[in-house]
């Protein structure tokens, strides 16, 4: 674990520079995101469904699918010229590689969100009511979950090429538990539903904003840790 932060920084910067030069991931993410938003906006207009409900949902759908797109690429860069071999031979811990790739995916997703969130807000006519901190919190926690799980599974493409077709369904299924409080939190941020959901029946946390975020923190903590620990098993043969 020598030079830990130096290695993380080096791998992180390398991936960012490669992506800025290749200019493949972010434009594709934006196109996909816009498409999703456009389809959902059209549907909600046509059926007169409340835009304030569909808008936040559209955001999550766009983030999930575009996030997956970014992650499929994150290890493709190492497959050129057998670069993965060179990377693994260096005296860096595999956890370093996981962390660096995770940060790269986070940054890509954040850049995408900075562009897409205003677009969605404008096209769906959403009002944030000054809750920027809440929005950023939900976004960051959601991103961490998406990228934490996605980074592990996209590394598996190293092991089995045929895996890349399955990456999307695997990550989406694993993320499903997090999407429930994430969607609720997003709806609360935009005022689509009240902050305190009336506790009916089985509700453990009575569904308020704080507990939704708390759940996401717990989810991220558990899954990022476990993915980090298992990473070494999927990156080497």
């Amino acid at each position: 674990m020598r030079y830990f932060w130096l290695s993380v920084k080096a791998i992180f910067l390398k991936d960012i520079v490669v992506e800025l030069r290749a200019r493949q991931v972010i434009p594709t993410m934006i196109v996909l995101g816009m498409l999703i938003v456009w389809i959902l906006r059209t549907a909600s207009e046509a059926a007169s469904i409340s835009a304030v409900v569909i808008g936040p949902a559209a955001l999550w759908i766009a983030f999930l699918f575009s996030g997956l797109l970014a992650q499929e690429r994150s290890f493709a860069v190492e497959q050129q010229n057998d670069c993965m071999y060179g990377l693994l031979m260096a005296p860096v811990d595999v956890g370093t590689i996981y962390l660096a790739k995770l940060l790269v995916n986070l940054v890509m997703l954040c850049i995408f969100e900075i562009i897409i969130v205003p677009v969605v807000m404008i096209s769906f006519g959403l009002d944030i009511h000054g809750r920027w901190a809440g929005l950023i919190g939900v976004l960051l926690l959601g991103n961490l979950g998406i990228c934490g799980v996605g980074t592990l599974f996209s590394a598996m493409v190293q092991l089995a090429r045929s895996f890349s077709a399955l990456l999307s369904i695997i990550v989406l299924v694993i993320l499903m538990p997090m999407m429930i409080p994430a969607t609720l939190a997003m709806l609360m941020v935009f005022g689509a539903i009240p902050d305190e959901l009336a506790g009916v029946g089985n509700m453990v946390f009575a569904g308020n904003f704080r507990s939704a975020l708390g759940y996401m923190v717990a989810f991220d903590a558990v899954f990022v840790t476990v993915c980090w620990l298992l990473f070494g098993l999927v990156i080497k043969e």
């Binding site: 045929s162 499903m176 538990p177 029946g201 089985n202 509700m203 453990v204 946390f205 569904g207």
Partner: protein
């Protein structure tokens, strides 16, 4: 034993109205589906630590049996929901958890059948997925409770025969699952042996 428990349930432990008796199939399959997942988890960890293919075979068998149980679980849950509240599905914690459990199992099986390449790589990928997927199960149970659950099962197993029938049902399905896993493990082991012999 399965026959005995079914008889017990239907004759002695009837819950009114009659549609509710599907719960006798629902609860045992729910418990056993979860148990199968625990088996998959243990086998996955076992494989990752020892790289012995036997663990992988057990995981594979348990996943197949678990898928069947999860399917039964979801179907009985839907039938119960329809009988009780008139809707096929409702976002209650139990049904959402059951749904996700089914999805996880199915994805596990898809993963297993579509990874091309050496068997040890397939085993490793599935083992890692098995561990992560298992973590999802308690997670979804908690997270599903964020949604207001308007439909709630409000009966309990009161009489003695009902409880006995329930426990017998659970026991019966557990034994049945164990037998199926054992049989499937045997089949897979023989299949592997055949493959090895034909390859060499």
């Amino acid at each position: 034993m399965l026959l005995a428990s079914t008889w017990m349930a239907l004759m002695l432990g009837q819950i009114e109205p009659v549609q509710r008796n599907i719960i006798y199939a629902h609860i045992p399959s729910s418990i056993c589906a979860l148990l199968c997942f625990v088996v998959v988890l243990v086998a996955s960890i076992g494989y990752l630590r020892t790289s012995k293919p036997q663990w992988d075979i057990v995981a594979s068998a348990a996943a197949e049996v678990g898928t069947i149980l999860a399917t039964v679980l979801n179907l009985t849950g839907m039938i119960f929901s329809r009988a009780e509240w008139g809707v096929w599905w409702t976002p209650s914690p139990r049904l959402i958890s059951a749904g996700l459990l089914w999805f996880l199992y199915v994805v596990y099986l898809i993963l297993r059948s579509s990874i091309r390449g050496p068997r040890y790589l397939q085993a490793r990928v599935c083992a890692v997925f098995g561990i992560i997927a298992f973590l999802d199960v308690p997670m979804v149970y908690i997270s599903a409770r964020f949604i207001p659950d308007v439909h709630r099962a409000n009966f309990s197993f009161e009489t003695g025969p009902q409880k006995l029938a329930l426990f017998m049902g659970i026991g019966a399905i557990m034994i049945l699952s164990a037998v199926f896993i054992w049989l499937k493990t045997d089949i897979l082991r023989d299949q592997n042996k055949l493959e090895r012999e034909s390859a060499s």
